[in-house]
Amino acid sequence: MQTKFEHYATTSMLGAPDSPPRCNAKLLFHHEWEARAFGMALALSRDGFFEWEDFRQALIASIAEWEKEHGVDRVNPEWDYYERWLLALERVLKAEALITTEEIQAALAKEP
């Protein structure tokens, strides 16, 4: 049985519409921020801040929004899985009152 949350969470997505990019039997991240976004969602759910199924629903909804506008085309260079992930994460964090829009805006404004 999958006693480790990391294993359970990742396996639950495999073969499903929200499946993360993989290569050579490992998760595929093109950029460090993608890995951070992934790690954040996983750690927060693992530690009980939200249910993994709720995050997945948010991710699927975020992907659906994109596809409504751009169609289903995973080889389109405009497609960015982790951008969808990050949006889902932001929404779930707000829904759980862990973060507010104002706080994010303030933090972004500080960046050069």
């Binding site: 290569c23 490992k26 998760l27 993608e34 951070r36 990050l86 960046e111």
Partner: protein, 218 residues
């Protein structure tokens, strides 16, 4: 990788900034620590991948006595290796290894995603869970293998192993010709999860590992 240059760099930068902002805020609020995310990423880098399986194969190729032990009792052979504790014995279940030779070829299928020996082979490919693949692999393995580009001579016997929750199978692929002089570490580099499932040969060139920049899951 050329397609990625068409992607708006501003969009990329915004995502990076947002991820950084979110993480900083969560750390500031004490929801996570500065180590939390790094630890998760490390887990996937070092534990969720085919490295351990590849190391077993490489060692078996270099050390015939180890190979014998691996084929006889995989779990105890695995215990000999220097794997992290959670990685030995595939979550406690029994592991069995089937050896490919010039006369016998082995193919692994499994009923559930959770029957996959993830601690040795990493994440399963999307098609592995597909019931059509599983049904066809059981019924007409030679044809399925051919579709994977694996054309086996009729004289080669094909054995299909069904992993269950109790027994996780993996394949010890044939060592490619010309690799005899390679070190164990270099050999481990060329062993692919597909080869350990029995749907591909081990090629000498790691470039043929099928890295696909367009690969987006599914």
């Amino acid at each position: 990788m050329t397609d990625r240059f068409l992607y708006d760099p501003k969009r990329e930068a915004l995502s990076a900034a947002k991820a950084k902002a979110l993480e900083a805020l969560l750390i500031k609020k004490g929801v996570i620590t500065s180590e939390t995310v790094t630890k998760v990423i490390d887990f996937f880098k070092t534990k969720m991948g085919p490295f351990n399986g590849a190391k077993l194969v490489a060692r078996a190729w270099k050390d015939p006595a180890f190979k014998k032990r691996l084929l006889k009792n995989a779990n105890s052979a695995i215990a000999e290796m220097d794997f992290p504790p959670v990685m030995s014995g595939a979550e406690g279940e029994h592991v069995r290894v089937a050896e490919n030779t010039s006369s016998v070829h082995n193919l692994i299928i499994c009923t559930l995603c959770s029957c996959y020996p993830w601690t040795l082979l990493g994440l399963p490919p999307y098609w592995f869970k597909d019931p059509v693949f599983r049904a066809r692999a059981a019924r007409e393995p030679r044809k399925v293998l051919k579709e994977f580009g694996f054309d086996l001579d009729d004289s080669v016997e094909i054995r299909v192993w069904d992993s269950s929750a109790q027994i996780r199978w993996f394949v010890l692929p044939e060592q490619p010709k010309g690799s005899e002089g390679m070190s164990e570490a270099d050999l481990a580099e060329i062993v692919t999860p597909e080869a350990m499932m029995g749907v591909a040969r081990v090629e000498l060139s790691p470039a043929s590992r099928g890295y696909d920049p367009k690969a987006q899951g599914f």
